[in-house]
Amino acid sequence: MLRALVPVLLLVVLVGLSVALDRPQPPADFTFGNGNDVTTLDLQKMSWMQDLRVARLLFEGLAANDVFTDGYDPIPAAAERWDISEDGREYVFHLRPTAKWSNGEPLRAGDFVFAWRRAILPDTAADYSGLFMFIEGAQDFADWRADALAEFARSRPANQGTAARAQAARDLWAETERRFDEVVGVRAVDDRTLVVRLDRPVPYFLDLCAFATFYPVYPPLVRQYDRLDTETGRIIAEAGWTQPPRLISNGPFKLTVWRFKRDMRLEANEHWWDADSLGVRSIAIPSIEEPNAQVLAFRTGSVQYLADVTVPYRREMHARKQEFYREHWNDYVRLLAEGHDQFEIDRRLPDDPRAHVHVVPAFGTYFYNFNCRPALPDGRPNPFADARVRRAFAMCIDKRAIAEEVRGLGEPVARTLIPAGSLGGYESPRGLDCLSDASDEAGRQAIAGRARALLTEAGYDDPSRFPTVEVLFNKDAGHDLIAQSVARNWQKYLGVPVRLAQKEIKVFRDDLKNHNFMTSRAGWYGDYGDPTTFLEINRTGDGNNDRAYSSSEFDALLDDAARETDPARRMALLSEAERILVERDLPLVPIFHYCTVTMFNAHELSGPNPHPRTNENIFLYDVLGDGKGSDRVRTMPLHPRGPAASAAGGAAP
C-alpha cells in the first residue's frame, strides 16, 4: 500500500517546492491593465498600442507630446531645445546635459543616429520605417541597401568559400555604414548636438520625434545581439536585449521584471533627468488578456486603471454611466458648460462605481472598402471600378443606425475619414450625404432615388441584375452585425442582390491584400498628428491601399502638399484631397469614428487625458491621496460653452 502512495507523494513534493520557490512581488504604487500583453520592447520594431504605452514609460525621445493641450503640443524631452531653419528642412537638437541612460552613462546624439539607422535599414524590417523616409537621403539609402542585399543573395561565385563569403558580408556592411553617414541627413555634430536634414518641410516632424520608433536605443547593448548573417549579408537582430536585467533605457522608468504572460514591473529610473516629478515610483503591469478578467480585476481593486476595455457588455456599462449623469443632471450640465474635460467632470461629481467607465473619442475611423480594380480576381468586370457606383452604395448606408444601434457607445457618425476637429488648423470637407441625413422614410427614399439614378447613369438600369455584391468581413468583434445592417440597406434602398462573406481573420487579411473582394469592412487609426496619416493609405501603390484606389489627381494633391511650405495652404490642399476621397471618388465609406473605453476612478487617479489622440503618458499618473508625488490633478484646458450646446451634447467635449 505504501508503495502505491509514492506517486501521490511525488505530486505533493512538486507542488510544495514550486509554491516555496515562487515569491510574489511586493505591491507597486500603481497597477494597470495594458489591454494586451506587450509583444516587443524593441522600439524600432513596435507598432502595437500596448507596446507604445510601455515604451513611453521606459524611453524618451527628443520631444514629447504635452497630452494636456488641445494640440498635443511637442515639448522638450531628451532635447532641451531645438532650432528649425527658415525653410523648415533643418532641425538642430540640443540634448539635455542631464539626459542619461539607466546605467548612468550619458545619452549621446550618436545614440539617436544609431537608432534611426536601425529603423531605416531594410534588415530591421521596421513596421514604421516609412516614417523616416522624408529624412534627406533615407529613401535612397534604404533602396540601395535593399538592392545590395538582393545582389549579395543572388551572386555567389562558384569558388567562394565560407570565409570569403563572410568577408564579403563584412565588406558590404562596412560600405553600408560608410554610405549611411555620407548620404542620410542625420548627423551627430558632437555628443550633445543632433542635426537632421529633411527632404522637404514636414510640419509634424516634432510630433514624430515624440513617437516611440524615433526614441534612442543603447548602442553597445543592441550591437551585442546583432549578428551579420554570412549567407544573406543581413544584420540579424536576435531576441534578448529587451529582457531585464539586460535592458538599458533612458526614460522615467526602468524595467526590473518581465515574466512572460505573467507580469511586468517598472521602477523609477533614478538617472532620469526629471525623476523627482514622478507621482508613482513603481508600476506593476499584470498580464490579463481576457477582457472579462480585466474588468473583474478592476472591480476587485487589483488594478487601478484599464487602458482598453473590450468586453461585450461595455455598452451596458456606458448606458449605466449615462444613467448616473442623469441622476446628477444639473451639476453635470453646469460642469459641461464651464468647459471641464470629461474626466474632471467625473472627478467633481460624487464618487460612484458607475462613473468608473470612460468612453473617449479616438483618432480612428471604421469604414467600408470598395475594390477599385477594373476586374475582379475571377476575371469578371468589377462594377465598383466606377466611382458613380461607389458613390451610390456609399449614400445608401444608414451610418447612424450602425453607430447607435449596433455599436451603442456614442461613437460619432463619420462623414470623413479623418475625425473632424481632431487636428488643429485642418478643415474637414463636408462629406457625402447618406441615409442617416434624412429625418424620415421619405427623405431616405429621396436619397436612395439619387443613388439609383447614379447606378442608371453607370449603365445598371435594372438593379436586380446588378452582379451579386459580396461583403467581406471577419467574424469577430461584431463586424457581422454591421455587415448585416449594410447589406439590408443596399438590398432595400438600391435593390441589388447582396451576399455576406464571413471569413476567418487570416483568410480575411489575405483576401484584402490580394484585392480578392468587392466590398469589405476596414479601420484605421492615425499614427501622428497630421492629415497625411489617414490620406497616404489611399495613394497609388501604398502598402495599406487595400482598395487598389489610384487617382493621379489625388496623388498630385498629396505631392503638392508635401512641397508646400505655407502651413495654411498645405492644409487646404490636404483638405481638397480628402474631399475627393469622401465626396467624389469614394474608394471607402467612412461609417463611424472609434471610441476608446478605459476604466479608472477619477477621484483616485490623476493623469489620464481624454484627448482623441489617446496616447496615455502613464509617467504623469498620480494616485491621489497616497502621500506620494505631488497629488496634483492634471486637466485639459477649459472650453466653456453655451448651455444649449451642453444640454444637447453627449459626454465627449
Binding site: 509583444t39 513596421d127 543581413r234 512572460f260 504572460k261 505573467r262 481576457e290 478578467a293 472591480r299 484605421w524
Partner: protein, 332 residues
C-alpha cells in the same frame, strides 16, 4: 525495457516533429504580418522570411533540427564562437546573452522572446498547476470512490456518482466561471486570477481537477465493487478483519492500480491541456500556447511546444510504467 523505450523516444519525437511541421507549414497566413493594417513593403517581408528560413521548407526543417537537438550548441562551443561573444559582452560592461543547448528558436509573435524563454516561464506554472490538480483529483476521486463502493446504491453512492457525472460532463469554462463568480466575486474570498501565491492556485486547480477526480472516482468505485465481492475479501471478513481495514488494505490496494496507470497520461494532460482553465483564471501556463501559436502561425513556438509536450508525454508514460511494476511486481 527502459533502455528500449529511451531509444524509441527520439524516433517518436522525430516523427511527431515531421508531421507537425508539415501541418503547421500548411496553415494559411503570414506569421510575420501584423494583424491590423500596417503592412511592410514586399521586399521587407521577403527579407524577414529569408531570415527565419520561412521561404524554404527543407531549409527550415534542417536548420530547426540543427539548433533544437543541440548540434549547433556543440558546434559553437567547440569553435570558440560562444566564448568570444561572452568575452566581448563582459568587456563592454554588459550581461552576456543567454545560450540554450536545445535552442527552440525565436518566437515570431513574441519578438522579444526565444521559445526556450517562453517554455521556461510557462512550463513550471503548468507543471505546478497540473500536479496540484492531480493531487486534488486523487484525494477527491479516491475518497468518493471508496465511500460509494462501501455502500453501493446508497444515497452517498448516488450523490458521488451524480457529482462525478457533473464533473465529467460540465466543461471547465462553466465550472471555472461559476467558481470564479462565487468565490472570487461574490464571496471575494479568493483572487479572481493571476499566478503567484498559493491562494491564486486554489480555484484553477480545483477547476482543472474536477473532470479527473470524477473519472478517478468511477475507476475506484468500479475496482472497489469488483474486489469487495472477491474471494480474498470474503476470507478477510471471515477472519474478522475490521471493515475499514478490509476496505483500505485489501480492496483499495488492488482497486488503486487502474487509477495509477491512469495517472500517467492524466498528469501529462493536466499539465499541458489546461488552455481553458488558464484563460478563465489568467494563469500564465503552457496550454495557451498550443492554441495561440497555431492561430498566430508562430512556427517556432508551435514546434517548440509540441516537442516539449511530446517528450513529456512519453517520459510520463515511461515513469508510470516503471512505478507500476514497482508497486505491483506481478506485472511483467
Amino acid at each position: 525495457m527502459i533502455v528500449r523505450r529511451l531509444v524509441q523516444l527520439p524516433l517518436i519525437v522525430g516523427v511527431i516533429y515531421t508531421l507537425t511541421l508539415v501541418l503547421a507549414w500548411k496553415v494559411p497566413g503570414n506569421p510575420l504580418e501584423n494583424p491590423e493594417g500596417r503592412k511592410p513593403a514586399p521586399e521587407v517581408v521577403e527579407a524577414m522570411k529569408a531570415q527565419y528560413n520561412l521561404d524554404n521548407f527543407g531549409k527550415f526543417y534542417w536548420s530547426y533540427l540543427d539548433s533544437a537537438t543541440g548540434v549547433k550548441w556543440v558546434r559553437e562551443s567547440l569553435s570558440g564562437e560562444a566564448d568570444r561573444r561572452e568575452r566581448e559582452a563582459i568587456e563592454a560592461g554588459l550581461i552576456p546573452p543567454g545560450r540554450f543547448i536545445f535552442d527552440l528558436g525565436p518566437s515570431l509573435q513574441y519578438k522579444d522572446y526565444r521559445v526556450n524563454d517562453i517554455v521556461a516561464a510557462a512550463l513550471p506554472v503548468s507543471v505546478t498547476l497540473g500536479a496540484a490538480a492531480m493531487l486534488l483529483a486523487v484525494v477527491i476521486g479516491v475518497t468518493a470512490g471508496v465511500v460509494g463502493a462501501a455502500r453501493p446504491n446508497s444515497i452517498a453512492d448516488l450523490a458521488t456518482l451524480a457529482v462525478a457525472l457533473v464533473g465529467i460532463s460540465l466543461p471547465s469554462f462553466v465550472i471555472g466561471t461559476v467558481l470564479l463568480l462565487v468565490f472570487g466575486v461574490w464571496a471575494a474570498a479568493l483572487p479572481v486570477g493571476g499566478w503567484g501565491g498559493p491562494e491564486q492556485m486554489i480555484l484553477p486547480a480545483v477547476t482543472l481537477s474536477l473532470p479527473f477526480a470524477a473519472y478517478i472516482a468511477r475507476l475506484t468505485r468500479m475496482g472497489m465493487v469488483e474486489h469487495l465481492s472477491s474471494d480474498f475479501v470474503r476470507t478477510a471478513r471471515a477472519k474478522g478483519v475490521h471493515e475499514l481495514r478490509v476496505l483500505l488494505r485489501h480492496a483499495l490496494k488492488n482497486a488503486f492500480l487502474p487509477v495509477l496507470s491512469y495517472l500517467g497520461p492524466a498528469t501529462a494532460l493536466a499539465m499541458t491541456g489546461s488552455f481553458v482553465v488558464e484563460r478563465v483564471f489568467n494563469v500564465p501556463g503552457l496550454g495557451q500556447h498550443f492554441v495561440n501559436a497555431v492561430q498566430n502561425k508562430d512556427l517556432f513556438l508551435i514546434m517548440g511546444v509540441v516537442l516539449v509536450f511530446a517528450t513529456m508525454l512519453i517520459l510520463f508514460n515511461l515513469a508510470v510504467d516503471v512505478l507500476y511494476r514497482w508497486v505491483d511486481p506481478r506485472i511483467e
